[in-house]
């Protein structure tokens, strides 16, 4: 199942297929002109070719527009449904935020602040854990693994990527979290002098650290499968040149594969970060939420993510409460948008070499 062979075979098959299609689509019974045409002279081309082109053009433009329309519709929906909470009378809206936060917040920014903090911290932590492991796995698959192991690993990675997040959440909440307590406890005892790992470690450890680990396991296969394909596409000539100059395998990877794949790795991690930012079920099942700006990752009830908060509060919320939750969703939308924008910037810089 190595993707490289697949893509190359597809590449070979493509022209043939296109030829067949165009042959099939040309006007029936039209043996047509025998005049030889070079590639630039379309004066005698059949009108059907032109109309095909036009149709394809229209379809492509339509697809492009559809994306924009969908995005616009989402933004519009968020703005419209969130509007009541911004436009409503101060007394009413502050009562809504008080009821949503257990009396801790009275305004929108006061309410959404800790949520943004929690969302970003948990997603970033998950990415930090997942990125290095994922790249390591990808490097192993591409450069070190034997064929049989490679096939097995590819299967496993693709399978991991296909597991729904609810399953990760259930497994995390029922199996992984209780099992992780001894480890977190050890960390808090021995590394507790670092504020991040200040104890006492919560038991059961339904904490930011545990949630980040679950998310890391969830997003790892995404990064792995993308970077794996990019590493596999490293120019063979460069690799051989590096080896010919006496580079060891690690030096060869450092000199050729990593620079080549840099922008790809960034975009893969941004995709993964997007998934981590928006993950709902797994976080809701694993994390014990709180509304604080706390860096104590091993203590429970410190942080909460926007998506999990919406899911937890939505069923019992009244109409203004729903508006408030949708407004937080709007903030999440902006965050993911900014993340993607940054990723674009970085990859463009990387790809401009």
């Amino acid at each position: 199942m190595a993707n490289t062979s697949e893509s190359s075979s597809a590449g070979q098959a493509m022209p043939v297929a296109v030829g067949q299609i165009s042959a099939g689509l040309s006007a029936p019974g039209g043996g047509g002109t025998d005049g030889r045409r070079n590639g630039l002279d379309f004066s005698e081309a059949k009108p059907s070719r032109h109309s095909q082109d036009k149709i394809f053009h229209a379809v492509a433009v339509g697809c492009g527009a559809l994306i924009l329309v969908a995005l616009g519709a989402v933004v519009l929906f968020l703005l419209l449904r969130a509007w009541p909470i911004f436009a409503g009378p101060q007394a009413k809206t502050s009562a809504v935020f008080a009821s949503l936060s257990g009396g801790k917040a009275h305004g929108f920014w006061q309410y959404v602040g800790p949520l943004v903090f929690g969302t970003v911290v948990i997603a970033a932590l998950a990415l930090a854990i997942a990125f290095f492991i994922a790249v390591g796995v990808a490097l192993f698959i591409t450069f070190y693994a034997r064929k049989r192991i490679r096939t097995v690993l590819n299967y496993v990675v693709d399978l991991l990527a296909a597991i729904p997040s609810v399953i990760y959440g259930l497994w995390g909440a029922l199996v992984l979290v209780p099992a992780m307590y001894p480890f977190w406890n050890w960390v808090s005892v021995h590394l507790g002098w670092i504020p991040l790992f200040a104890g006492p470690a919560a038991n059961p450890p339904r904490t930011v650290a545990s949630a980040a680990v679950i998310l890391a396991i969830m997003i790892m296969p995404i990064i792995t499968s993308m970077t794996r394909d990019i590493f596999a596409a490293t120019p063979r000539l460069n690799q051989e040149a590096a080896l010919a100059l006496g580079a060891t395998k690690w030096e060869m990877i450092k000199l050729t594969a990593l620079p080549f794949a840099k922008s790809g790795m960034v975009s893969a991690s941004m995709l993964a970060l997007g998934r981590a930012l928006g993950e709902t079920m797994a976080v809701m099942m694993v994390l014990s939420p709180g509304m604080t700006y706390s860096w104590h990752w091993l203590q429970a009830s410190k942080s909460q993510t926007i998506a999990a908060n919406i899911a937890a509060q939505y069923p019992e919320a009244d109409s203004l409460g729903v508006s408030a939750l949708i407004a937080t969703g709007l903030v999440l939308f902006v965050i993911t948008f900014v993340v993607n924008l940054l990723a674009r910037r970085i990859t463009r810089k990387g790809g401009a070499r």
Binding site: L100, P289, M291, S319
Partner: protein, 373 residues
């Protein structure tokens, strides 16, 4: 490649699923006691939908099963979407009735005038169940085992003031129990919940000096851990030693439960003790709407044998429906739900408290006035 294997696998799996589904059809009729509603074969037919409080789900499912046994032509579905969502759905006119843990507010009464044929919606209590304070403590907890606590101690535990199980305050009330020095981990709900509202109402009413927060649906402090839904709380309590939380008594399982100090004695959580409290509680004087029966639960009761931590859940209906068939159904349905046999079915299936007495009579009066023509 493996298409035959795959097909075989699909066939096996789907046949299992079919068997499971078929067998499920057979055995979900709950313990039926006596004959059901008075409106037996009253010609109720059609499809009717309700939505709302998830706390009522078990009871409503039991009611639906027995009701449909006696009204073969009625198809009823209840969506446990949550109180807020249920009332919102009802106010769009999409459902026949709603279930809610919180009585209607003025704005909702006002909005209901648009969907009711005449008058405004009313709410009546249909489901009362005891909320137990349950704990998991090695050597102390176990099925049917109790620790004694008064409201002040419970409030201080849930506010993080008491952090060890062998605290003097707990010891003083349980002189015979050998309490370990395990740290206490409080577990509460992370989602908006009627159960939290009832529990914090109790703490505020019974221990005003030790509980400085207003009653509300969201947990007010950062003490301990939060988990989503009753099931989340129960599974978190089970995952570690030294945990304490609150949930429906029916979910207590193998945990120990707290006997609460009422007056001079300690009362263990029980359905009949909860029903006693609710029946003795005064009715809430509602500012808006008519025909409403809203209980002002006396959480600070000192009457011997009353269990004070109860959740009461309501059904919301219109006094007259634009569709007469729906009106006839809701009248018949809620009459059955409030009847002795209906309440018994719920109690047998969910461990709730069977209502009865003057309160239910009042609710039945409102329900039987629903226009069915």
């Amino acid at each position: 490649m493996h298409s035959t294997k795959l097909k075989r696998l699909i066939a096996v799996v789907s046949s299992f699923a079919m068997m499971a589904a078929l067998s499920a059809c057979g055995d979900n009729t709950p313990a039926d006691s006596s004959s059901a509603s008075k409106g037996k074969n009253s010609g109720i037919s059609g499809e009717f939908h309700g939505a709302g409080a998830s706390s009522q789900q078990g009871a409503v499912e039991a009611w639906i099963a027995t009701y449909q046994n006696h009204n073969r032509n009625a198809k009823i579905a209840y969506n446990p979407s949550g109180s807020g969502a249920g009332v919102s759905t009802f106010l769009t006119g999409a459902t026949a009735w709603a279930g809610t843990d919180a009585p209607l507010n003025d704005q909702q009464i006002e909005q209901s005038k648009a969907i009711c044929k005449s008058g405004s919606a009313f709410d009546v209590p249909v489901y009362v169940s005891p909320i137990a304070v349950m704990f998991n403590l090695k050597g102390v907890s176990g099925q049917g085992k109790h620790l004694n606590m008064d409201a002040a101690v419970i409030a201080r535990i849930f506010d993080g003031k008491i952090t060890q199980w062998n605290d003097e305050a707990i010891k003083a009330e349980n002189p015979k129990v050998n309490l370990p020095a395990t740290p206490i981990t409080v577990v509460h709900r992370s989602d908006k919940s009627g159960t939290t509202n009832n529990f914090t109402s109790y703490l505020k009413a019974a221990a005003p000096n030790d509980w400085g927060f207003q009653p509300q649906e969201n947990w007010p402090n950062e003490v301990g851990q939060a988990a989503k839904g009753t099931d989340g709380v129960v599974s978190s309590i089970g995952q570690a030693d030294g945990t304490i939380g609150y949930a429906d008594l029916a979910k207590a399982g193998t945990f120990g439960t707290v006997s609460v100090k009422v007056g001079a004695d300690y009362v263990a959580p029980a359905a009949d003790a909860a029903a006693k409290t609710v029946n003795a509680s005064p009715l809430h004087a509602v500012p808006k709407g008519s025909k409403r029966v809203v209980v002002n639960v006396d959480y600070a009761t000192t009457v011997a044998g009353d269990y004070p931590i109860v959740s009461s859940s309501y059904a919301v209906a219109c006094p007259a429906y634009k569709d007469a068939k729906t009106g006839a159904f809701v009248r018949d349905w809620l009459s059955y739900v409030l009847s002795d046999s209906g309440q018994k079915v719920a109690a047998d299936n969910t461990g709730s408290a069977a209502l009865g007495g003057a309160l239910t009579q009042k609710a039945l009066k409102s329900v039987s006035a629903i226009q069915a023509k």
